[in-house]
């Protein structure tokens, strides 16, 4: 074999490797794209992310400017979504609030899912006392009043936005742990796990490479559902001094502030409510599509 040819070959394999990854990614995207609904979900999520990124540019008004004279205005040309109880432009607040709410929602769900998954995997894979201990801890966590946990977290870590995410994340740990444990139990029994074990793989490899990807789908469903709860409970914590402090336009907090005006100025609660719902809706159908696209078996 001539050296040049050899070089050519190795070059070729590199190109091939890259194109392979690209190909797989493309195949994934193609599959995802074919799911019309998921695509819509994706666009909704993307839309909100873009809104968050470009908030200062697209926001029509100063979201913090208090104008008590013009408070509680219904939607008008000046204020597309009306003004809140302090005369602030609701649309602008929603736009800025997307930064907070998206971050808090995503990060806390991610955090809760991450820890929940780890616990669930350990409990499900090792079983026995590991399972008993983890699941009983999870029971406790579930039975524990959220406000107490939140208070504990502030007193231990102090109030900050990150700690809100921690607190909200902690609330979601048990849900994820339980779901993951259940799926792990069933995946663990599959023959390919034994096959990999027979090859001499360590437990860590098995858990990470072989069990984890196969439990992902219920996790995605749960995560997309948790998002709403996360955004709402983050707002619930701000009064404990834990969340974003006023006048931060957190969606959940905006929604709660509408509580006093449910009848006199319903738009105050309505628009944040719509924002949360559509985000959650988008995220859910996006999640479903993602799950299908990630699954090589779904041929669609």
């Amino acid at each position: 074999m001539k050296p040049e040819i050899a070089m050519n070959q190795s070059e070729m394999t590199i190109v091939k490797k890259e194109s392979q990854k690209l190909k797989r990614w493309k195949a994934f995207y193609k599959k995802f794209k074919r799911n019309k609904l998921a695509l819509i979900g994706g666009y909704i999520v993307l839309f909100y992310i873009l809104v968050a990124i470009f908030a200062p540019i697209i926001s029509p008004q100063d979201p913090f400017k208090i104008d008590l004279v013009n408070k509680l205005q219904p939607p008008s040309l000046d204020h597309w979504m009306g003004t809140d109880d302090k005369g602030r432009d609701i649309l602008s607040r929603l736009i800025f609030g997307s930064r907070l709410s998206l971050t808090v929602g995503f990060v806390s769900v991610f955090f809760g899912a991450a820890i929940g998954i780890i616990l669930g995997l350990l409990a499900g894979y090792y079983g026995k006392w590991m399972d008993t201990i983890i699941m009983r801890i999870v029971d406790v966590l579930l039975a524990f009043p959220g406000i107490l946990l939140a208070l504990a977290i502030i007193s231990a870590l102090g109030p900050s936005l990150i700690n809100v995410m921690v607190a909200v994340g902690v609330f979601s740990i048990p849900m994820f742990a339980r779901i993951v444990r259940g799926s792990t139990l069933s995946v663990r029994k599959l023959e390919y796990i034994d096959a990999i074990r027979a090859l001499g793989a360590t437990d860590l490899t098995i858990i990470i490479k072989h069990i984890f990807p196969n439990i992902l789908s219920p996790v995605i469903v749960q995560a997309t559902l948790r998002l709403a709860t996360a955004i709402l409970s983050a707002a619930g914590l701000s009064y404990l001094g834990l969340g974003a402090q006023p006048p931060s336009p957190e969606w959940g907090a905006m929604l709660s502030s509408g509580r006093d005006y449910l009848f006199s100025a319903p738009h105050i609660a309505l628009f944040p409510g719509i924002a949360i719902s559509t985000l959650v809706l988008g995220f859910n159908i996006f999640g479903d599509g993602l799950r299908d696209a990630l699954d090589p078996r779904m041929k669609k």
């Binding site: 029971d139 524990f144 946990l149 559902l225 959650v280 809706l281």
Partner: protein
């Protein structure tokens, strides 16, 4: 099975010890002093110290904890710092109410959720399916105070069908149960849908068809009971969430439940009450989990006997 149940019950003992320790530590850490809060506006330092002494809060912390545990083991959960009533009495007033509420809303969750889920599943991708799923997702993203107040204004203030607030009769239960159950119903609907879609693909459904059964018998008799298995898990989880997540609904409907008791106790730093409340909630929760596990095993014994 019985032994399994007993074993699980015994397992809860260390869990409860753990819970009480964690509650205790958290309450120590949390800012806010029960004596100051109790002494009220304008109390002098001496008054606060006197109150603190009265409550026994000036004893060493370790001593306080072991004293608590020692008494708790004997069934004495102490007295509320706020009103000096026995914690257990206070809890027992609320417990039945909370359980009734939780059960009523679980019923709503299950009934609404399953009906919606079944319709969705049997008419997959129809308009009905899509709208049910969208409504379900809205249900999840709506805060309960909003939903509850809307119900009150619609059904109580405008239509005079149900009382606004309080507890005692079936009429009192309906609105709060719907408020509480709605979010769970959404989750159950989603779950039922996917579970049902799974079940209708099963061989025994085909067997049922081959017998010549009518479609609705196939769905409701042969399908549903099987589709319930994963739903039970979710319902169990929901039930847990109900015990903790009732505070807002209890407030809106002025229901004297455990959730509010615990939150109020936390806000007033009423340690024995918090302890007692959380412990009881944990016990209920553990039992609930146990019930779910038992049901799960019952339905699932064909799959996994160990």
């Amino acid at each position: 099975m019985l032994l399994f149940i007993i074993r699980r019950i015994l397992q809860t003992i260390p869990v409860l010890l753990g819970v009480s320790l964690v509650v205790f530590l958290i309450m120590q850490m949390v800012p806010g002093d029960p004596a100051t809060l109790l002494a009220g506006e304008g109390a002098t330092k001496q008054t606060i110290e006197m109150v603190r002494h009265e409550l026994g809060l000036d004893r060493p912390i370790i001593y306080q904890y072991f004293d608590y545990v020692f008494h708790a083991i004997q069934g004495d959960f102490g007295e509320s710092l706020r009103n000096n009533r026995p914690v257990l009495d206070e809890i027992m007033i609320r417990l039945p109410i909370t359980l009734q509420l939780a059960l009523a809303s679980i019923l709503i969750t299950v009934v609404l959720g399953m009906i919606a889920g079944i319709i969705s599943a049997t008419k997959q991708y129809s308009m009905a399916d899509i709208s049910i799923m969208i409504i379900a997702l809205l249900g999840i993203s709506l805060p309960s105070f909003w939903f509850g107040l809307m119900l009150i204004y619609f059904f109580s203030v405008n239509l005079h069908i149900f009382p606004v607030a309080g507890w005692g009769t079936i009429q009192h239960m309906i609105l709060p149960a719907i408020t509480l159950g709605a979010g769970g119903a959404a989750i159950v609907a989603r779950m039922t849908r996917s579970s049902m879609l799974e079940v209708v693909r099963q061989d025994y459904i085909r067997t049922a068809r081959a017998k010549g059964l009518k479609e609705h018998i196939i769905i409701y008799k042969h399908g549903l009971k099987n589709a319930l298995i994963p739903v039970i898990t979710v319902v169990g989880l929901q039930f847990g969430a109900l015990l903790g997540g009732t505070v807002l609904t209890e407030s809106v409907f002025a229901i004297n439940g455990l959730g509010r008791l615990i939150v109020d106790a936390i806000r007033t730093r009423d340690l024995p009450m918090v302890q007692g409340g959380v412990l009881i909630a944990s016990v209920i929760f553990v039992f609930m989990n146990l019930a779910v596990d038992v049901l799960y095993r019952y339905f699932n014994k064909r799959i996994d006997l160990n």
